[in-house]
Symmetry: C2
Subunit: 161 residues, 2 copies
């Protein structure tokens, strides 16, 4: 069985493998399940939901395209088209920026606010049922501090909330 190029790398222990692959698979499963749930119940994709949510939580329900893009971890071009789609659905609108004539705000419409309010219930229930409820409060706290360490190390600098 041993061939000429046997693996020289020190492999992972079973425990390490479980922690690492588990995260990859858990993330994939959660993203898929939550997206499907949101799509089925409200016809919204997860990325659209994120846009609406951050807008709803922002001052005056609006954010600069640029800030929005970096917040939801999307390229500027990606956000342009995502906002296009949401605007076509009437969930948000583009508003010119008085302070900076280059810029534009994405602003939630009343319809967008409604859709989000409904979707938020579904989504948060899902996140709780499939993730949060499976941890004790102490474990959640531990997770939080751990992610901060990871983010500090792996880039993305600091996460804004």
């Amino acid at each position: 069985m041993a061939t000429s190029t046997d693996i020289p790398a020190r492999l992972l222990t079973a425990s390490e493998l479980r922690a690492w692959r588990g995260m990859l698979r858990a993330h994939a499963a959660l993203a898929k399940a939550l997206d499907a749930q949101l799509e089925a119940a409200h016809g919204l994709q997860l990325s659209s939901y994120e846009v609406l949510m951050y807008l709803a939580d922002a001052e005056d329900q609006r954010m600069r395209m640029c800030d929005l893009a970096s917040t939801i971890l999307l390229s500027r071009s990606g956000l342009t088209r995502l906002v296009d789609r949401l605007q076509r659905e009437g969930l948000l609108e583009r508003v010119a920026c008085a302070q900076d004539a280059r810029g534009a705000f994405a602003k939630l419409t009343p319809l967008g606010r409604e859709r989000l309010a409904a979707a938020r219930v579904t989504h948060l229930d899902g996140v709780r049922a499939m993730f949060l409820d499976l941890f004790t409060p102490e474990e959640l706290e531990l997770l939080g501090t751990s992610w901060d360490r990871v983010l500090e190390t792996a880039g993305l600098g600091c996460c804004r909330t």
Copy 2:
């Protein structure tokens, strides 16, 4: 400030938010960083790496397309094209299946084995540096059991390995 449709949903606590968003951001940051690292050092994408790795660890360095697809969480069509690319690079080859004339194996070539061996060192170093090393062994163990719970709940049934 309070408009007609105020948010009725019970929102997440700060601790919950940190644990949940932290995971999303940590995953995104890790995937991006590890992919870039692998691409820079060995010209391999993370998805290609996964294919090579699972093949290398498999009996006779080959797997059925179907099994491979579900293992790396890709659709069958997605795998077809990914294998196309890797075959074009000479890292693996398609082998007919004697037991089932419909089926095909993807099998690692010696070149693929070499590329993987080199890439594996880089990748595992990265995973350790950006993830595993940031946890104590006890925390890793806890994470592992937690992911199992998540996977059981959120679908994907059981994870193989």
